[in-house]
């Protein structure tokens, strides 16, 4: 099974893939409305907001967690080298 290169989510169904295209390496949550993958900064901000919304953390603490998540993923590795 493929996992999203930008967030690590397992992609099983067509609806999990960006723009419903199973050829894509990233998921529906990591794409822009036009189907392109979000940029590093966009993804970081979206993840940060998501952590604040779901866990209520301080924004700086949430951003740090978002960066730590991204550090382990193939799409963003080069930003941390």
């Amino acid at each position: 099974m493929k996992t999203c290169i930008a967030c690590g989510m397992p992609m099983e169904d067509i609806s999990d893939f960006a723009a419903g295209d199973p050829g894509k390496d990233y998921c529906v949550h990591c794409s822009r409305p036009d189907g392109e993958m979000q940029s590093f900064e966009e993804k970081k901000e979206n993840l940060t907001k998501f952590i604040v919304r779901t866990q209520g953390f301080d924004e700086n603490a949430a951003r740090k967690i978002a960066e730590d998540m991204m550090r382990k993923l193939p799409a963003w590795k080069k930003y941390f080298d």
């Binding site: 604040v52 779901t54 209520g56 730590d68 998540m69």
Partner: protein, 195 residues
Amino acid sequence: MRTSKRQIQKLNTRKKIIETAYKVFSEKGFSVPSSIIAKEAGVSHGAIFAHFPTMDDLLISLLSDFGDKIGASLHALAKKSDSAENLLKEHLKVLEEYEAFYSRLISEKTRLPDEAKNTFAIIQSTVAFHFASVIEREIEKGTVKKLPIHMLFNTWMGLVHYYLLNKDFFSDSGESVIKRYGSELLSAYLNLIKK
């Protein structure tokens, strides 16, 4: 390619170290010296460092395994558009399976190395992700009160963690707190959040 006897032996040693570390950390906490893990696993002290250069590496590896397990079971359920009740039941099931380790983790978290703390934060964020996707659907359907997601999530986690952290008051002789109180916690929580 065939796996050589030596490679198989190496994998077995690694497995034994991980299983023993899981047991020793759960029983004695995370500051146990590596020599004790080596002794319990029946391997040389050097063998531990051949597989895990530092004790932190060993801890991170255990944490990642736990994270993968909890992530996989909640992912499967959240995808099925299941109810909050079933998702939380599954959450409790995984926590019960890993109860001793998880209780140590939450009680010693502030003393853990940064990378382990970060890995734990990522695991909890995965749980929050699945929780949010299920609970938002229930809010939309009108079956759960319209409260902020983080308060719904933190109330659940706070309740479960309180029982785990006070295991000595809630249970006797090492009995599982989740096994004994899980269904009571779940029904009380659902009563609080349901419309």
